[in-house]
C-alpha cells in the first residue's frame, strides 16, 4: 500500500506517525470527516497529509475499512454489516484502542461506532475485577473508598436499591 505512484487529482497521500506513506483514492479518504474538511478547505490534494497520531499498522486497517465502505456504497448493507463484524473479530486490545483513537481523530463515525461497541461488549457481562484485569486498570481506591463508592451507587449493582 505504500506509495510510490505519482499523485493525481483522484488520489492523495497520507503519512503515518512512523513515516510510512499511503496513497488513497479520494472517495476512500472522504469516509473521514477530518480529511473531507481538509479537502473542502482547499488543501492541495497533491500534498502529503501527515497523521502524526496514527501508526502505519493502524492506518492500514483504517484505510481498509474506508475502502470497503466507500466501494460498497449503500446498496449492500448486509455485506457491509458482515464485513464490520469480521473486521474487529480477532483484534487484540492494543490494536483496538489504536483503532478507536484513530477513528475518533479522523472522524470516521462508522468505525468509531463499531470499535467503541466492541470495547463496550468486552466490559458488558464481566465482573469489575475481570474488567480491571483485561484492561490493566489499576484500582487506586482504598478498600474503604471502594466500599463507599459501591454503597453510593448501590442501585447500579443490584438493579436498583
Amino acid at each position: 500500500m505504500a506509495s510510490s505512484i505519482e499523485n493525481n487529482n483522484e488520489k492523495l497521500t497520507l503519512k503515518s506517525s512512523d513515516g510510512e506513506e499511503f496513497l488513497v483514492e479520494k472517495h476512500v479518504a472522504l469516509q473521514s470527516t477530518l480529511l473531507q474538511n481538509m479537502l473542502d478547505s482547499d488543501c492541495s490534494s497533491a500534498d502529503v497529509i501527515p497523521l502524526p497520531k496514527i501508526d502505519a499498522r493502524t492506518l492500514a486497517l483504517v484505510l481498509g475499512y474506508c475502502k470497503k465502505h466507500a466501494d460498497a456504497s449503500s446498496s449492500k448493507q448486509g455485506e457491509l454489516n458482515s464485513f464490520d463484524s469480521e473486521f474487529l473479530k480477532d483484534m487484540d486490545m492494543g490494536a483496538l484502542f489504536n483503532l478507536v483513537l484513530a477513528a475518533n481523530f479522523m472522524e470516521i463515525k462508522g468505525l468509531l461506532d463499531i470499535a467503541a461497541q466492541k470495547i463496550a461488549d468486552t466490559i458488558k457481562d464481566k465482573p469489575h475485577q475481570e474488567v480491571r484485569e483485561i484492561f490493566h486498570v489499576e484500582n487506586d481506591y482504598t478498600p474503604e473508598e471502594e466500599a463507599a463508592v459501591r454503597e453510593e451507587n448501590r442501585w447500579a449493582f443490584e438493579g436498583f436499591p
Binding site: D55, D92, M93, G94, A95, F97, N98, V100, L101, N104, L112, A116, Q117, I119, A120, I123, K124, H128, V131, R132, E133, I134, F135, H136, V137, E138, N139, D140, Y141, E146, V149, R150, E152, N153, W155, A156, F157, G159, F160, P161
Partner: protein
C-alpha cells in the same frame, strides 16, 4: 494479550508495545470513554465507578439515561405489593442520578415504571430535567406493561403532564429546548390534544410520536405539510373522538385499543405502508366495523398490516354475542377492504380465557399479494385466575379454547368444567384443568359444529382428524383455485392452528415454509407462572401431525 498477575510489579517498557501492561482504556480521552459507557446498559455504565478513581464520575456524563429495568419490572407487574415497595426506591434512584448528572445535554431519557398522580412532584422534575437538557428522545411509560396485557388494577389517578412545563415549552427558551426532539413517547400520562399539537408544530425534527393511555386527549390533528413524522401511535385513549392525519412522511401508524367512537381521518399519507390496529373484539364483524371507520385510509397501499385483538373471557352474554356475530359475519364479508398490496399480515391475539376464534380466512382472502402470514396467539391465564372477586358460577365457567372455532354448544358443558378452577391458588395455578377442558370442548365441537359449518359440495366421506379440518375449510375455496400466488411463509406463534395451516396448504401454491413456534403459549409477562411443557408438547404434536399432509416443497419448521 498479557494479563497482570496480581502482586507482580508492573514495568512500563515501551509506549508502542500493544502487549504492554499500560492501562490503555483509562488513557482514552474522556469523550471516548463516555461514548463507550453510553453503549452499555445504564446500570452497568454506572457500576464502572468502582474500577478506579478515573472512572468514578465518568458515567455521570453519559447521554443516554435509560431507567427501564425489565428484569425488575416483570415481578413488579405481577405483584402489586412488591410494586408498592419498589416504587419509592425507583423514584429515589432516578432523583439521585439526575442530581449527579453532569452532561450539558442528553440524547435519551427513558422511564418505564408503574407510577401515578401521587408521584407528580418527582415526575414533573424529571420532565423538566430532560427538556432543559435538550433531550432528543423522551420516553415515559408510567404503566410499564405492554398494551393488550391487562394491567393489575391500581386505583391511583393517572399522572398529568404538568402545566408549568407546558408553559415553559411555550416560552422562547423552552421552545429552543424542544426543537431537537426526534422521538416523543408519553404512555399513560394525561396529555391534551393541544399539548401534543404544540410538540408537533415546534419540533421540526420529530420523527416518532407515541401517545398512549391519555384520558384527556379528545381531538388530535396531526397535520402539517412539512411534518417529518414517520411513526405515529395513538393508543388506548378512552376519550378520543377524532384523529386527523395529514403527514407527508408518515410510514407507520399504530392505533391499539381503539375506541368504538373514535373517528380516524387520514386525509394525506402517501408513504403510509405499515399499519397496526388493535381492538377488543370477538368477531370479524367487529374488525370489519373498524375497517369501515377507517375508510379514509388507503388500504390498497398498505404493505404490512397487524391486527391486535384482545379476546375477552367467556360469559353467557359474551357467548350470546359471539353466536350473533357469527351469524352476521357471513352476511357482511363483502365489506372488507381489498388489501391488494399487502405483503405481511399478522394477527396478534391475546386471549384472556377460553376463547374461540373467528374464521381468519375471510380476511386472508382479501390479500392476494401476501408474502407472509403470522398468527400469534398468547393466552393470559393469570389475569383470569387472579382477578378478584370470583365471578358468579355461569361467568366463571371458563375454558381455554384451543384453535377451536366457536361452537354454540360450548356453553352446554361450561358450568361443570369451570368448577375445578375455583380453588387454584394464585401462585401455583396450573393449567392441567384447562387442557382437559379443551379436550372436552373439542369433542363437543366435533359433534355439534358440523350442521352449522357444513360446507357446500363436500361429502362427509372423509375420516380422521385432518379430514374433518379439510371439510371445515372446504367451503372457503376449492383446493384447485389458488388465491395466494406469492405467499411463501406462514408462521404460528404461541399456539398452533391446524385448520388454518390446512387452509394455506390447499390455497397457496408458492408456500415454502410453515413455521410453528409453540415455545411460548402464554403471555410472556406471565411466563414464570404459566410455562407449561405439557401444553407446548401438545401443540407441537399437533404440528407434527401435519407433516404427513405436506405437499412437496413445503417445509415444516417446528421450533
Amino acid at each position: 494479550m498479557g494479563r497482570t498477575v496480581p502482586g507482580t510489579i508492573c514495568v512500563k517498557v515501551q509506549k508502542e508495545d500493544s502487549n504492554s501492561r499500560d492501562d490503555r482504556i483509562s488513557q482514552l480521552p474522556s469523550e471516548l470513554l463516555i461514548i463507550i459507557l453510553g453503549l452499555l446498559p445504564f446500570a452497568k455504565a454506572a457500576s464502572t465507578c468502582v474500577l478506579s478513581k478515573r472512572w468514578k464520575y465518568l458515567w455521570t456524563f453519559v447521554k443516554c439515561l435509560n431507567f427501564d429495568f425489565q428484569k425488575k419490572l416483570i415481578p413488579i407487574l405481577r405483584d402489586p405489593e412488591l410494586g408498592e415497595v419498589e416504587r419509592p426506591r425507583y423514584i429515589s434512584l432516578v432523583n439521585r442520578v439526575l442530581q449527579l448528572h453532569q452532561g450539558s445535554h442528553i440524547n435519551e431519557f427513558k422511564v418505564n415504571f408503574p407510577l401515578a398522580w401521587n408521584n407528580s412532584c418527582d415526575i414533573d422534575q424529571w420532565i423538566t430535567f430532560a427538556i432543559t437538557k435538550r433531550v432528543q428522545s423522551l420516553e415515559l411509560d408510567l404503566q410499564g406493561s405492554r398494551i393488550g396485557v391487562p394491567p393489575f388494577p391500581h386505583g391511583s389517578p393517572r399522572y398529568s403532564f404538568p402545566e408549568k412545563v407546558y408553559s415553559y415549552i411555550k416560552s422562547p427558551c423552552g421552545l429552543s429546548c424542544i426543537n431537537c426532539l426526534t422521538q416523543l413517547s408519553l404512555k399513560f400520562i394525561n396529555v391534551t390534544g393541544e399539548l401534543v399539537e404544540h410538540f408537533l408544530c415546534n419540533c421540526p425534527l420529530l420523527e416518532r410520536l407515541c401517545v398512549r393511555g391519555s384520558k384527556q386527549l379528545s381531538k388530535l390533528r396531526v397535520i402539517g405539510p412539512s411534518l417529518r413524522l414517520k411513526f405515529l401511535e395513538i393508543s388506548a385513549c378512552d376519550c378520543l373522538e377524532s384523529v386527523d392525519i395529514y403527514a407527508p412522511n408518515l410510514a407507520s401508524f399504530i392505533c391499539l385499543e381503539m375506541h368504538a367512537r373514535t373517528q380516524i381521518l387520514v386525509s394525506y399519507a402517501p408513504l403510509l405502508v405499515d399499519v397496526t390496529l388493535g381492538m377488543p373484539t370477538v368477531s370479524l364483524g367487529t374488525i370489519e366495523r373498524y375497517f369501515f371507520k377507517l375508510e379514509s385510509l388507503c388500504f390498497s397501499q398498505l404493505e404490512s398490516l397487524t391486527l391486535c385483538m384482545r379476546l375477552f373471557r367467556v360469559s353467557v352474554y359474551f357467548l350470546f354475542q359471539l353466536v350473533i356475530s357469527l351469524i352476521l359475519v357471513n352476511c357482511t364479508l363483502s365489506h372488507f377492504p381489498e388489501l391488494t398490496n399487502l405483503k405481511n399480515l399478522k394477527l396478534e391475539v391475546f386471549a384472556s380465557a377460553g376463547i374461540s376464534f373467528p374464521d381468519w380466512t375471510c380476511l386472508i382472502k382479501k390479500s392476494p399479494s401476501l408474502h407472509k402470514f403470522t398468527l400469534q396467539i398468547f393466552y393470559d391465564v393469570i389475569y383470569f385466575l387472579c382477578s378478584a372477586p370470583p365471578l358468579s358460577p355461569p361467568t366463571y365457567s371458563i375454558v381455554l379454547g384451543c384453535n377451536s372455532k366457536i361452537s354454540p354448544a360450548v356453553d352446554v358443558d361450561l358450568s361443570s368444567l369451570g368448577g375445578g378452577l375455583k380453588n387454584i391458588s394464585r401462585r401455583h395455578a396450573r393449567i392441567l384443568e384447562e387442557i382437559t377442558a379443551v379436550e372436552v370442548v373439542r369433542n363437543v365441537r366435533r359433534r355439534l359444529i358440523c350442521p352449522l359449518d357444513k360446507p357446500k359440495g363436500v361429502t362427509d366421506g372423509e375420516s380422521g382428524e385432518l379430514g374433518s379440518h379439510r371439510r371445515k375449510w372446504g367451503n372457503i375455496q376449492e383446493p384447485s383455485k389458488c388465491i395466494h400466488k406469492s405467499l411463501k411463509v406462514v408462521e404460528f406463534v404461541g399456539n398452533f392452528d391446524v385448520d388454518l395451516a390446512m387452509y394455506f396448504i390447499q390455497n397457496a401454491i408458492t408456500l415454502q415454509k410453515i413455521i410453528v413456534d409453540c415455545r411460548q403459549a402464554f403471555i410472556p409477562e406471565r411466563e414464570e407462572f404459566y410455562k407449561d411443557d405439557e401444553w407446548t408438547e401438545k401443540s407441537r404434536n399437533r404440528a407434527l401431525e401435519l407433516k404427513r399432509m405436506l405437499p412437496l416443497g413445503v417445509e415444516l419448521i417446528i421450533l
